[in-house]
Symmetry: C3
């Protein structure tokens, strides 16, 4: 039995990621079916990859068409209202942040439930959280969001780590899920708001040469 | 037992998609093995993703190497004749249109045969039809064809919808397959020929601001 | 029981591909978690796709977290030393060459062990060898390495072909593996060193027109 909170967070993640897919498609001026394809691929893409790697087949949405229908409904709504947000790129980033933290938690949760090692569960959380956005950006011909200046992958990692650590420590599932989501979202939100980032790799002059590295 | 018509349409789809992969590789001036890789990935990529999501494993071409051999043969032929079409980009688009309508039908058919819900079968048809081209364009470093101005994803959707609807209505399989293919191809061909498109998302000025949306 | 040589080659391939992923991420100035994600996706991506297509689920690293840990460790080391190579692009290409030849052999080996046809085993070797790099380049927003001027996919094909042919001819596994790796790596290295390539597709004027092909 899936607990209501896990199910609610999963649905919320799908809706916000589907919205970002539809926003990306609207920026490319696609037609409504194009919005639906990108919304669906973004909404269920990360979880589909997770299920394929874990061998949980057929993947989750095959036996529950409601997932498809929700993504398509989101696309239809966005076709008419995508112009309302003052900046669609900005809206996309904030919704993406919510989906990122949600999917990191629910992805890790599904992997743990399948009996994986905790480290693998954290990795599955990160994959579920980041690949929806990667698939969206590749399909829309845009620069992958994981290359964003602000903290991104790290926020997914923190959300999955907090959830898995609290679960191993014996916390109740709602507490672990909400804590993981809050930690990951707070980190990404802080970074987006103040333009703050982790120390990044900085090119340094290579040893024994006068020219900059290629 | 696979009926001859389903099998024939499936093979035809693989040949035309493999040809578009080889054409894309020839535009990038790859060597003959590069043409073979892109031809194969385009020809069997959509069906491979469909089988992985449905859990029909190993995927269809693992137990039937003839699929690989046909894709490689197509690439070898194209290595010598790709210059003959007056415009390779134009040829690619028309062959892609045939493959799109074929795979939408055969993809939906395979999903229905696996016992999925009709809505999921339509989605699987669209995935099978569109992801071969997406994989090709990503591997060749080109703009994904789904962003094309003319009707594209919608043609796949119509082909899959017509096939599934006729099948549920009790039509014979050859009739449903040929009708689905014809509807999808006619839509894409009309759009390509007259440069016609569905209403696309149009940016509008955001509310309460003077600047255009980002 | 996995023989030590197969296991050693597999680990070496993962380490060198993970290093190329971390180098690509460092060129994009990602943070350390970004390096870890790209290192891991590059190191285990090709094998993950192979396992999903063969139906060997869950994929290989789910039951052995050491694979993840090694990729992450590689990323952490590279975060501090990536500036040392005089040219990171050049280092990336040479390490990629080693990984390419290794994964072509171990990918084909795993497919043969799963009972596939020899032609399918060769294809699986090529997929395992090339898709790690493709995934890396797509995630880093760079031009896919398979479009490189020098021999690339062909080197993977030669490595897999030599391994499968020697195995079918009754050679011992270590001999077949080392021969396959040597043949593939020598070909790619020769090509990289002398800038040599196979005959590539050359555009020719289309028949009966004055204008160049599109």
């Amino acid at each position: 039995m899936i607990e209501p909170i896990a199910s609610a967070l999963d649905w919320l993640g799908i809706v916000v990621f589907a919205t970002t897919g539809a926003l990306a498609a609207s920026r490319k001026q696609m037609d409504v079916v194009g919005l639906a394809l990108l919304a669906t691929a973004t909404g269920i893409g990360g979880g589909t990859l997770r299920d394929m790697m874990l061998g949980l087949l057929p993947v989750f949405w095959v036996s529950r068409p409601a997932y498809l229908i929700v993504c398509i409904a989101v696309a239809c709504v966005m076709f008419f209202v995508a112009h309302i947000p003052q900046s669609r790129l900005r809206s996309l980033l904030w919704l993406d942040a919510i989906g990122l933290a949600l999917f990191a938690v629910t992805g890790a949760e599904r992997a743990l439930a399948a009996g994986t090692d905790p480290s693998v569960a954290v990795a599955m959380g990160v994959v579920t959280a980041t690949f929806g956005g990667i698939i969206r950006d590749v399909m829309a011909g845009e620069t992958p969001v994981i290359l964003s200046r602000e903290v991104y992958v790290t926020a997914a990692l923190v959300a999955a780590l907090v959830y898995v650590a609290l679960t191993l420590a014996g916390a109740t599932r709602p507490l672990a899920m909400v804590s993981g989501f809050t930690a990951g979202f707070a980190l990404r939100a802080t970074s987006l708001h103040w333009g703050w980032s982790l120390p990044r790799y900085k090119p340094r002059p290579p040893r024994g040469r006068d020219h900059p590295p290629a």
